[in-house]
């Protein structure tokens, strides 16, 4: 059972060993991309940027979905549901307020 939690997305048919080096590799590459992309963000948009990255980092929601929805003990699932609620709030409010702010930026 914990297996399916561990490899969130793996079904028993195709199990994949956790390769921490791959994860590290991905982390390093993603950090390079992040630094490169963020440095080019228009200065005008730093405030909406903060709420956008906020919404994106709420991707942690996928972890909460697994904890809430899998066949786990009740207490564990309650914890998961609270986490899911928190992430979902961030997703909804983050994207909405970003869009609300961006709508205001007009050229003329």
């Amino acid at each position: 059972m914990i297996d399916s939690l561990m490899a969130t997305q793996a079904v028993p048919a195709e199990p994949v060993a956790v390769d921490y080096w791959s994860m590290l590799f991905v982390f390093v590459l993603a950090t390079f991309i992040g630094l490169g992309v963020i440095r080019r963000v228009s200065r005008l948009l730093y405030t909406p940027l903060m709420s956008l990255t906020n919404a994106i980092s709420a991707i942690a929601v996928v972890g909460s979905i697994v904890v809430t929805g899998a066949d786990y003990p009740r207490t564990i699932r309650i914890i998961g549901a609270v986490a899911l609620f928190a992430s979902m709030t961030n997703i909804v409010s983050g994207f909405l307020i970003t869009d609300r702010m961006l709508k205001m930026f007009k050229k003329q």
Binding site: T8, T47, M50, L52, A70, A81, K107
Partner: protein
């Protein structure tokens, strides 16, 4: 099959998130970025939900609906409350990460202790510490920014504070190492709770000595932590999408805090441990030197005769919510063929980009907003520099007064303009607590009062309604 779906969704969502941030490089494409972000999130959620191990759906639906119920109103806050909202959002993010980490640990402990390898345990401990300290730290930050009563605005310091704070963190991490080495000992569960408690405590202690006005930088740093806790969760769950999205968030927080620190000419350590804002106010120079005042009528006349007006907004404009009146002033002046530019200092206001959103809200075209480096060479040609609630960002002391906290910070050269009109409510100093000689220069005239009210009257005057007084 389902495995391939999930993996493909992860690659796809990652690409969408990268494009989402990439498109923020231009206001013209930025809204497309939101669409990309939403799509990426949808893809990730659906691909996770359809996995066969998800068998209970009720609570998921409830939690999502609750998220909408709270999230939608949270997205409608006035723009001045955006810093608080961001901090609150980090608190939620930290909480989610901390809770998932806790769930993972106790799941492993109860059902499959063999899975609690040293590597996974380290990731869980990192996730939990980062998550919970971000949770309480961000809550405190949000409270300070919202000026909640029972959270003191001013930095609270006491001797040995840094030692205590760092001590708490060291104990938490040390205990973490012990739990990593003995994840299944009879006392490990309790130790884990203690770690959570210390992280919660550290979050509070970290923020207490930091002044309300330093919160934006702190929020950015907490943003980084929230991102890193998502990365740790990704390591635990072997989920690459979490790792990439967390890394993107982490870099964003890092870069924004570096930008702020640089623009304020301060270091990270100084922000976190400097207890900035406790600086003893020196006797206002204003008492010795002469402050010249101008009437609304005089100000209107001065503006009317100018051919280039540079408006320098600051935190005061945000406090007074004066942006819509500023827009009316802009209209009155441009109607007369006067060129009006807005000079935007990178740390004007209380968060990066603060002035830009406020002015955009008031429908001022973003092409009229000029960055500090671009406007400064033009300042000697400027007829009137209109300073609206800005103080530190136009303080010439930054250029030469080595003993002031803003020494070395680049400023907008308002003092080089032919004339300066400055709007503020009193002779009090700004955020950094130091006097500003700009206000007592020969060619400076003050307009004391709330920014919204004062500009409103200038606009009336210009619109020909001046006779009503």
């Amino acid at each position: 099959m389902m495995y391939a779906v999930a993996q493909f969704a992860a690659v796809f969502a990652t690409a969408l998130f990268i494009f989402s941030l990439y498109w923020m490089n231009d206001p013209k494409t930025a809204r497309r970025g939101v669409v990309a972000g939403v799509t990426g999130m949808l893809v990730a959620v659906v691909a996770t939900w359809v996995q066969p191990q998800i068998i209970h759906h009720g609570w998921i639906v409830v939690a999502i609906v609750a998220g909408f119920i709270v999230g939608v109103p949270l997205s409608q806050v006035p723009l001045t409350a955006v810093p608080q909202r961001t901090a609150l959002s980090h608190a939620f993010g930290g909480l989610a990460a901390g809770l998932v980490g806790t769930a993972e640990y106790f799941l492993g402990l109860g059902e499959n202790p063999a899975e609690l390898t040293a590597f996974r345990m380290s990731a869980i401990v990192a996730e939990v510490i980062l998550g919970f300290l971000t949770f309480t730290g961000s809550l405190m930050a949000a409270g300070k920014l919202q000026e909640v009563k029972w959270i003191p605005q001013r930095p609270v310091t006491y001797p040995g504070q840094n030692v205590v704070n760092i001590g708490v963190l060291v104990v938490a991490v040390g205990l973490g190492v012990v739990v990593v080495l003995h994840p299944t000992a009879p006392w490990s569960g309790h130790a884990f709770y203690v770690i959570v408690g210390l992280a919660v405590l550290f979050g509070v202690l970290l923020i207490i000595p930091i002044g309300g006005a330093d919160m934006p930088t702190v929020i950015s740093i907490l943003n980084s932590y929230a991102g890193l806790s998502a990365v740790a969760m990704g390591f635990v769950l072997n989920n690459k999408l979490l790792v990439t999205a967390g890394a993107l968030d982490g870099s964003s927080g890092l870069i924004l805090s570096i930008i702020m620190c640089r623009a304020m000419n301060r270091s990270f350590t100084n922000v976190l441990f400097g207890a900035f804002g406790t600086v003893q106010k020196t006797a206002a120079i204003g008492e010795q030197k002469e402050w010249k005042q101008e009437t609304v009528e005089g100000a209107a006349q001065l503006l009317e005769q100018a051919s280039l007006v540079v408006i320098i907004p600051g935190y005061g404009m945000a406090v007074a919510q004066a942006q819509h009146k500023v827009r009316e002033l802009y209209d009155q002046l441009t109607k007369r063929g006067i060129t009006v530019k807005f000079a935007i200092h990178p740390v004007a206001g209380r968060m990066p980009g603060h002035m830009n959103v406020l002015l955009a809200e008031a429908n001022i075209p973003y092409t009229a907003l000029v960055e500090m480096d671009e406007i400064n060479p033009e300042m000697p040609q400027c007829d009137v520099a209109l300073v609206i609630g800005a103080n530190d960002v136009v303080n010439p002391a930054a250029r030469y007064k080595k003993d002031t906290p803003i020494y070395g910070m680049p400023i907008i050269d308002a003092d080089k303009a032919r004339a300066v009109l400055a709007i503020k409510r009193s002779k009090n100093p700004g955020f950094a607590g130091i006097d500003n000689e700009l206000y007592v220069l020969d060619n400076t005239w003050m307009l004391f009062g709330d920014a919204k009210a004062v500009i409103g009257e200038v606009v009336k005057q210009l619109a020909g309604g001046g006779g009503l007084h």
